[in-house]
């Protein structure tokens, strides 16, 4: 495993043939990715619901920030605890419980009489979102044949943005049709119970992860599951591999905090943390959570903003497709830096046009065009590189700890952006807020240039050597690749 280069598609024991197991695997993928869809829906729905909620519940910019970002605090906790629980109880059990948690959280938010209950419900939803973010990916990568594993992380990301798009469309439809009735935001929220029920019912019929069963020494059951999702010849051959992978999973948990005393290990973790921060610090989620409000403040009316916001969702989905395609073709570092240049320009221009154009439909249209441009670069370049790089830079024995702290960092920065955005807009205005994000973008670009290594086509051993010899792996690599 550790000798594979990142691009090599390892050929399995035998190549996959079509059969009933293919359909089974497809169905399984669809069911499990409902977790990603719910993740996207629950983070995106607040975008259109917030303007109505603000009126109904009497939200201030500060409480708007709290309602939006409390989900992310829950998600940080959920991601942190989720891994442990799913290691102990199994992936399938965990996903079933998460589906219940999704439904319960949704209902609490839907019937929330005031801010307090709403925040509580959002934290519960966050626990489910965070738990799903780790468990669904683990489940999918453990049941899928080895040649598909690489793509799964990014495919899950695709489901997340699709969930957000779905939420934006749902918001626009509900807002457009029943916008005048009171409490319309409650209807926007409650729709999320449907995919939660689908996830729960679907997972009941799905098998446990063979790799988890193997890690528990339940090899008979593991083989039975493999026979459902592989052709007969391959299932036998793969049990050995699954056994090896279960051992590898255990090895991945070797490193502990004390290993951070070793300089080269610290360097890798710092690079991982920087990549995590850079993905969020562009402010992408200020658009995913507050897009409708940004457009309303720029000059669209409420219904117009809800509809226009769909463009943000559509471009996110399209750009994610492009991003997945690009990952296989271009190097990671240039892709990241081009993404950063693109988002920086878009952010800067939003700030400029918000300053020079009078509020109205023309300004709102320009802002919309720019947020769409921003998302194209973010979801088409920065985000896919982030997900992939975080899975590529850590040597096996450091992986558990490394991914854990970087995931936590992602949620924390996401939380801060979600919390502070409405407060900043109220305090210093929308254009100054975007200038701030643009400034942070410049810092991120400099950091990326200085410390982010190229991981495409390099083995973990090569990367490890670079981290051991000196602090600037990026520069060494430039020499090699030129």
């Amino acid at each position: 495993m550790s000798h594979d280069t990142h691009d090599a598609v390892p050929s399995g024991p035998t190549t996959e043939t079509l059969g009933p197991h293919t359909r089974r695997l497809k169905l399984l993928t669809v069911v499990a990715t409902f977790g990603g869809l719910l993740f996207g829906y629950d983070t995106g729905v607040i975008n259109g619901a917030l303007p109505y909620m603000t009126d109904d519940l009497g939200l201030t910019p500060a409480t708007e920030g709290v309602v939006t970002s409390s989900l992310l605090l829950g998600a940080a906790l959920g991601a942190f605890l989720g891994g442990r629980v799913s290691d102990r109880r199994g992936r399938r059990t965990m996903i079933l419980r998460l589906a219940v948690l999704f439904a319960v959280g949704t209902l609490i938010c839907t019937f929330a009489p005031g801010v307090g209950v709403m925040v509580f419900g959002r934290v519960v939803l966050g626990l489910a979102v965070g738990g799903a973010s780790v468990t669904v990916i683990a489940y999918l990568s453990e049941v899928s044949p080895v040649e598909r594993r690489g793509r799964l992380v990014t495919q899950n990301e695709l489901m997340v943005v699709s969930g957000q798009l779905l939420a934006f469309v749902g918001n626009a439809v509900i807002g457009g049709v029943w916008g005048e009735a009171g409490g319309v935001w409650r209807w926007m929220l409650v729709i999320a119970t449907l995919p939660a029920v689908a996830l729960w019912a679907g997972m009941l019929a799905m098998p446990e992860s063979p790799r988890w069963l193997a890690s528990r020494g339940r090899f008979g059951e593991a083989l039975a599951v493999l026979q459902q999702v592989r052709d007969a010849k391959r299932a036998e051959a793969e049990l050995a591999e699954v056994r090896a992978l279960a051992e590898e999973d255990e090895a991945a948990q070797t490193a502990g905090w004390r290993d951070l005393a070793v300089p080269w290990i610290r360097r890798i973790v710092v690079v991982g943390l920087a990549i995590a921060v850079m993905q969020q610090i562009t402010g992408v989620n200020s658009i995913m959570y507050y897009g409708t409000q940004i457009l309303t403040e720029s000059g669209f009316d409420r219904d117009g903003a809800l509809i226009a916001n769909i463009a943000n969702g559509v471009i996110s989905v399209l750009a994610t497709f492009v991003g997945i395609w690009l990952l296989g073709r271009v190097r990671r570092r240039p892709m990241l830096i081009v993404g950063q240049i693109g988002t920086f320009c878009a952010l800067l221009l939003v700030g400029v046009f918000s300053l020079v154009l009078p509020e109205g439909v023309s300004r709102a249209s320009v802002v919309l065009a720019l947020t769409v441009t921003f998302l194209a670069f973010q979801q088409g370049a920065i985000s896919p590189v982030t997900w992939l790089m975080l899975s590529e830079i850590f040597p096996l024995k450091l992986r558990g700890l490394g991914m854990g702290v970087c995931g936590l960092m992602l949620w924390i920065v996401n939380f801060l952006v979600g919390l502070l955005f409405p407060i900043l807009v109220a305090a210093i205005g929308i254009s100054a807020t975007f200038f701030l994000f643009a400034g942070l973008g410049v810092c991120a670009m400099l950091v990326a240039k200085a410390i982010v290594p190229e991981t495409k086509g390099r083995t973990l051993e090569q990367l490890e050597r670079d981290f051991k010899h000196g602090g600037a792996p990026a520069r060494d690599m430039a020499k090699v690749t030129r």
């Binding site: 948990q253 070797t254 502990g256 070793v262 290990i265």
Partner: protein, 116 residues
């Protein structure tokens, strides 16, 4: 009678290892090397005439615990533990704890602590 050495991924680790090799030769016995680094021990340059067993790190355990567990496993055969030491800042010690302090206090065989 066997010598055991704890080798973390640091200059002190390499100092401890070379001291342990000397001690093993002096006592004309064999050596158990506990590699505490995340990557396999570099065995290039290790003397081939000495009976050496290298144990890599497995599982998620505190470093001191894993050394003490290895000592228990070899109870009765290992009669010397070799470790490396260095000066630590109070902050570093508070954050990450002190491996050598725990081993000095808790190992039930004599400990040879070498400084660089």
């Amino acid at each position: 009678m066997t010598v055991m050495v704890a080798v973390p991924d640091s200059p002190e680790g390499r100092t401890a290892l070379s001291a342990a090799l000397d001690e093993t030769r002096l006592r004309d016995t064999d050596l158990v090397v506990l590699n505490l680094a995340l990557d396999p021990l570099d065995v290039v340059g290790m003397p081939s005439d000495l009976p050496i067993t290298v144990r890599e790190r497995t599982g998620h355990a505190d470093l001191a615990d894993s050394v003490l567990a290895a000592l228990d496993e070899y109870a009765g055969t290992v009669d010397l533990l070799v470790i490396g030491m260095k000066r630590r800042t109070p902050i570093g010690k508070a954050l990450l704890g002190s491996l050598s302090q725990r081993l000095l206090l808790e190992a039930d065989v004599p400990v040879l602590a070498v400084k660089r």
